[in-house]
Symmetry: C2
Subunit: 228 residues, 2 copies
């Protein structure tokens, strides 16, 4: 069975994000997948990149460099336990699903902290092993999120610009950089401003997509897809 | 004298980011500006958006909605003390400078948490008061950051794409949304891979720019600037 890691960032289990997460667990489990959830708020996941992420002595205690220190710590097995656990989940996964409400054209800080702290050099990338030769190649990622703004606001020419513009840092800058192939995003526009019936349709559409997810081809994660 | 708030996110005072921050404090103070620094790591600033941000009872305790709860709390003066303090600094400032190392095509999670938690509805925006009529209009913002990748990697057609692509969520999606006018970013490319002399030139260039900063015109914060 395939392995899936869902990295989930919502405070409220009853939210639409909570339901989207539960539906993914249910549907993928039904398919025989092994599904793990990192429920970041429930875990009180630490988003801050600090010296606490390194166990024991620093490589250079005169001048703290987070990138260098976590790289060195990774190599000697000296990263903090919460990071090691998340890296193990990532390592085992065939597919990473990120489920979150869009906050300020990006992911909530708690999820950004997961990216900042878990995807350390040596584990996820190590120059020149980035982009197509990133260390997490042969994995897939999918960004599934809800927005405050409407589909019209996020249309090309809309006041907030094409929604694809804001996917660039997350899909290309993070996932593609680590070698991960990216499936098309799953976006629920403005669920707070639609009827209960429409929200149910959003849940059904997600369940439906998941049924044939493994047949999907990744997007072409290059500027053309985002800015054409 | 004009008022400036520097929101600063680096763990190490001896870093280039630390020096860029100190130079800004020094140069702007010399000009007679009143400069305040929010040193996020030193403050152990909380990046997670949780129920703790609301003092007292919730508007809807059945289903927690962070956006609604902070909006309601703002209106009745019930936001947590750390948010009120940051909002006061923002309110008083004519210019916001964000100083940080680029983490994953964006700001470090600790700074993203500042955006997520401080710029609440009612304070920074309140539909339809967004973009050009955002509640923080008449303020300026400037993103000043260092990168790991080189200028060539961040050129149009470079492997990481035009650096302007990744500025869209931060400059347009956050600052412009709140009505803040955006000055051209200040970018130090790959300081870790250049000579000590080049790094000193980077500091001098920043000090030099600050001397005439108040004469600068904001950028045209529309898709053309980012994706043309």
């Amino acid at each position: 069975g395939r392995k899936v890691l869902i990295v989930y960032a919502h405070q409220e289990p009853k939210s639409l994000n909570g339901s989207l997460k539960s539906i993914a667990v249910e549907e993928l489990s039904k398919q025989g997948c092994n599904v793990t959830v990192s429920d970041l708020y429930a875990m009180q996941f630490e988003p801050r990149a600090t010296r606490n992420d390194i166990v024991g002595c620093l490589h250079n205690s005169e001048e703290f460099n987070y990138g260098v220190e976590t790289w060195e710590a990774y190599k000697r097995g000296g990263l903090s336990r919460d990071l090691v656990e998340e890296q193990k989940k990532v390592q085992e996964a065939d597919l990473l699903i990120f489920q979150f409400p869009l906050y300020w054209f990006s992911m909530p800080a708690i999820m950004k902290g997961w990216m900042d702290r878990v995807l350390v050099q040596g584990f996820a990338h190590e120059f020149p092993n980035c982009y197509d030769s990133g260390l997490l190649k042969d994995k897939l990622a999918l960004f599934s999120f809800t927005t405050g703004g409407s589909r019209e606001m996020y249309a090309k020419g809309g006041i907030s610009g094409d929604i694809r513009y804001l996917l660039w840092p997350m899909q290309h800058g993070i996932m593609h950089f680590c070698g991960v192939k990216v499936l098309a995003p799953h976006i629920c526009f403005a669920p707070e401003y639609v009827s209960e019936e429409k929200r149910k349709e959003m849940l059904t559409a997600w369940a439906q997509r998941l049924k044939t997810l493994w047949n999907e081809e990744p997007i072409n994660c290059s500027p053309e897809w985002y800015f054409k």
